[in-house]
Each structure stands twice: as C-alpha cells, then as structure tokens.
Amino acid sequence: MINTTPLSKNAAPATHAESHFDRKGLVQMILLGLLLLLPVAAYFLGHTYYVNLASRVTIIAMAAVGLNLAIGYGGMVSFGHAAYFGLGGYVAGISAYHAFDMTPFMSWPFSVPGSDSLLVVWLAAVVLCALLALAIGAISLRTTGVYFIMITLAFAQMIYYFANSWPTYGGQDGLPIYIRNTLPQVGNNLLDSSDALTYFLICFTGLMLAMALTSRLMKSRFGAALTMARLNDVRLATAGVSPYPIRLVAFVISAAITGLAGALYADLNGFVSPSMLSWHFSGELMVIVILGGVGRLYGPLAGAVLFVMMETFLGGITEYWQLFLGLVLLGVVLFAKHGVMGWLAGSERNE
C-alpha cells in the first residue's frame, strides 16, 4: 500500500495551528469536566445508575482509545478488537470464578490459582492480550488493506466460537462474577471497588492513563515512525526503519489497552459472555472511533459519549434504535469525515 501523501502536508503554518488551539482545548476540557463532574453529582444525589452509566462510557472510551491507536494513528484497520476486549473480560471472569471456587486455574506444569485482586487481573489481562495480539498481529500484518480487515475479523470470530463452545466457563451462557474483584486495602476502607463512584474513578484513571500513554507515544520517535508507516511505508523503509515491527508493537499496545478495558467492563457488569467477543462489538468500537473522529486523542471519548447516549436514550424510545444508529453512521461516513471532534473542535493540523 503506497500512499503518496507528501510530508509537507504535516507542516501547516503555525498561525493556523494556534487559531484552533483554544477552541480544541476548550472542547476537550468541557468533555473531561462533564465526564468527571456529572457522575460525582449523580452519586451524591443518589443516582447510582448514572454513575455506572458513566463508568460504562469511560470503559468503552478506553477500549476505543486502544483501537484508535491501531486505526487512527497506525492505519491498521483492525476489525477484531472485540477479541482483546473479550479476552480481558474472560480473564477477570475466570480469575474470579477460581478464586470464588478456591480451585486452581491450572495445576500442570505449574499451579496457577485464581485471584480476586484487581491488580493481578489487570496485569494478567494486559499480558495475555498482548500475547494474543502478538500472535494475531504477526500473521495479519503480513497482509495489508482489505486482507488485514478480514483476517483480524476472522481471528476474532475464531476466539468467539471457541468461547461459545467451550463448556467449562459457561459456553454461550457466559460466566457471572459474583463478587467484584478487589483492590488491596490501604489503611482504612478508602478503595472499596464495589462502591459505584470508586469504581468509576478507577475507570476514569485508567482512561486518563491510556490517553496519556497514547499522547506520549505519538510524540516520541516511535510515534513519528508509526505515523510514517501509515502515510508512506516505503519512505520509512528507505530511512532505515522497518515498518513491520513498528506496526506490530503498536498493534500489541493497542490490544493491551482494549484488553484492560475489557477486564474493567466485566467487573463493572459482574458478568462476561461471548457477546463481548462478537464481531458486532468490533464493529461498534470502530463506529465509536469514527463517530468521535479518527486519529484524534479525544475522538474515542467523544464517540463513546455519543454512542452510549444514543443507546440509552434512543434505546429507551424505540427498540429499533440501531436503525437510527445506522443512519447516523452512514451520514457521518459519507458527509462528515472528521467526526464529532472535527465538528466541535475544528480540524487537526495534519488534515
């Protein structure tokens, strides 16, 4: 895939960039402020439902931040990110299941017990998703374009069908998590993960870390190489940097972020099922990235807010709300290429 976009496109005049900074910064501040303040207000007014809704927005935004790293910054159109989201969810579910049952997860060649500690679950989710993405990415990234889309989709389906037909952890019925996994107690009862607001703040911190990591990465040499791999991989190769390992590393990081979001999601719902792995969810994640604005730091968050709001409010009016989601999506793809953030905050410098 040779893209002939000239490099100079990135070097827009500085005045142009500055004229957008205020508006963009303002929109981002408002978005974050509302996301943080509304659940806190709802909590103290006693509306736990809205706190959990905000947690849901935050987690889905985090999953989309992961996907945005692959699609938006890396140009890798992965149609299989539900695989990592679901695997992260199953790590939380299976770990809690064994901790609850007090049975080992495996006893050979070495003994691995279950755990109800969030820190252990998160670490395991990140590591396992990274390993899975390493295997899938290593094969899929040998191809480009439409092959890559279909292959990532097919691998995710493989894992979906596996989870569906593997009876130990509930098969297609899914696996309940009876008690939310816990954080280590520090002194008094400050970090009780079963408290809705505490859990929201945990998720919010996770989202902020994921966004900070993305931003930091894209400002580094690695980010420059990744951008170049998207814009013109031949030029990158000519400069002595091989695009394949750059893409693979970005793909793995992207999957690890989405996987961590999956673990948070399973603990939020107290339930994990193959639907977290379904290709519909992969599609919805892509929709969120596009609705918000692809390749923008705050795009996934804006997209997730919009998506969950449509789901909640349109879904409350009509059970056929996805028909309207389809129409909105079609309109955005055909006529509004830069998504909500592009519309609210103006175009990015490199557009």
Binding site: Y147, N164, L334
Partner: protein, 306 residues
C-alpha cells in the same frame, strides 16, 4: 466411523461449500471489479430469504418465491449501489467497512420492524422432500442434492458469463484496468450497478435456498458472511476460481471437523470432555486453516490482481 456417515458428511460439506460459493462469488466479484469491501452482502442473503418466504407463503409456489427472492435481492442491491455504494468506490476501506456496517444495522433493524423478531418458516416444496439411496446404502435428502446441483450449475453459468459474453469481457477488463475501459466508452457506472446487483441476486438465492433448510430470521446472513470472508481470503480476493475452491474447502473441512474431531478425542478421553474439546476445536478449525494458508500464501491461493 462408517462409510455411510463419511459419504453423508462429505455431501453435507459440499452442500455447505456450494452455498458459500454463491455468497463468496458475489463478494469477490464486487471486490475484484470495484475494489469495494461489502459487509452488507449478508443483508442481501437475508432479503432473498425473507422475500422468498413471504411470496411462497402467499402464492404457495416455492419456485415463484425463489424467483421473487432473487429479484428482490437484485433490486435492493441495485438500489443500495445507486444510493450509497457508488459514493464509496474512491474511499478508503475503513469508510467502506463502516458505511456497509451501517447498512447492516439499517437492514437488520428494518427487517425486524417489518416482519417482527420471530423467524419465518420456509420449507422445501413437497416434490423435493424425499430421500434418495446412494451407493453404500446412504439415504440422503433430495433437497440437499438439489442445492449441490444448483451450486454447480451457477458455477458453470458464472464461468460462461465471465469467459464467453460481452458483459463478462467488460467485467474482466474492469478488473485489470478501470480507467481504460471507461476511456474506451464502456458505461462504468452501469457496469458497476449490474455487477453489484448480480452479486446481490446470488446472495439472495443462497439465502432463500438455505432458508428452506434452516429458518428465516434477522441476522441469518452474518455467520455466512464471515464464512464467505474466510473463503475469499483463502481463495484470493477477486478470483472466482479461488472462491469456488475456497468454498468447497471450507465447507468440507468445517463439516467433517464438527463430526470427526469429537469422535477422534473420544478414542483417548472421557466422552463428555471429548465432546467439549472436539467441538471447540472444530469451531476454530477453518480459521486455523486460513491462518496456515496465509502464513505460506499471504494473498490466498489464487490471487487475482498481481
């Protein structure tokens, strides 16, 4: 592991393969000629099945229903091409995926709105419901044999259409150089609409034929669509020959895997565990097949455009 079971399951595999071919040939043609990835292809499968079920129920004739199903799918396909798809040819694949994903949502929810959530029932006509006895005393349903026959006939017809007719010549020319055939005075816009409608009609036919075997419901096209993707990735995107071979391979491997893997594990495991392990492995089998083929041939078995 009797011979009868093997013959029966082989035939089932070929039957699944021929139906996958009807789906995959349309997908691969559309990709080969227009360079478009179309997720909504499964919706045409569903449209064909619903139209056939509705018309068969009101006229009582399966054949009229089938004709109506194919026509409806072709018309819907042409309409979708004119309104939406045509704006996507010069867009990146990401836009194509999202716009056609949006079409899936619209079609699925629209169908649910019109026909409701419960499945429609469509059964094969009475003159196709019997069994035939094959060599080795295998009793096999006539209807499934007919499906294989229809699939083979369509494969031959497609081959003749593409290699012997003027339309086929234009399709092949469109695959190798789009600008050039435009410059030579071929109406590309019309050609694209025709190819898209043709693909949709084949998907509609597959949906109607399989709908009579299973049930006609919202979302029925999605598992088939993903299998068809695996087929064309294995066969090489854009290649009809690859689609045929890939479809048969996927159909047979998937069917035999589901029957024989659990049996295989039963030879050295307790039956209940063997069924679990065997069936989960069988569900993954074609994806493993795809990964292995791609590891050696990243462009599939019969890559068309290079």
């Amino acid at each position: 592991m009797s011979v009868t079971l093997l013959i029966e399951q082989l035939l089932n595999g070929v039957q699944l393969g021929t139906m996958l071919f009807l789906m995959a040939s349309g997908l691969t043609l559309v990709f080969g000629v227009m360079g478009l990835i179309n997720l909504a292809h499964g919706s045409f499968y569903m449209v064909g099945a619903y139209a056939t079920a509705a018309v068969t129920a009101s006229t009582g004739s399966f054949l009229i229903g089938l004709a109506a199903g194919m026509t409806a799918a072709a018309l819907v396909g042409a309409l979708v091409e004119l309104i939406v798809i045509r704006r996507l040819y010069h867009r990146p694949h990401l836009d194509q995926v999202l716009a056609t994903f949006a079409l899936i949502l619209i079609f699925s929810e629209g169908t649910r709105w019109i026909f409701g959530s419960s499945p429609l029932w469509l059964s094969p006509p009475s003159w196709l419901t019997g069994f035939v006895t094959l060599p080795g005393d295998t009793r096999y349903p006539v209807y499934r044999l007919v499906l294989i026959g229809v699939g083979v006939a369509i494969a031959i017809a497609l081959y003749l259409l593409i290699s012997r007719t003027r339309l086929g010549m234009r399709i092949r020319a469109g695959e190798s150089d789009r600008e050039m055939i435009g410059a030579l005075g071929v109406n590309i816009a019309k050609l694209y609409t025709v190819v898209f409608a043709l693909g949709a009609a084949l998907a509609g036919l597959a949906g109607a034929l399989v709908g009579a075997l299973q049930s006609v419901q919202v979302g029925m096209g999605e598992p088939v669509l993903i299998l068809a993707f695996v087929v064309i990735v294995i066969g090489g995107i854009g290649s009809i020959k690859g689609a045929l071979l890939g479809a048969l391979l996927v159909g047979v491997v998937d069917t035999l895997g589901r029957v024989y893997l659990p049996l295989f594990f039963q030879t050295f495991m307790p039956p209940s565990e063997a069924t679990g392990v065997g069936s989960s492995l069988a569900a993954m089998l074609i994806y493993i097949l795809m990964a292995v083929i791609l590891a050696f041939k990243p462009k599939g078995l019969f890559a068309a455009n290079d």
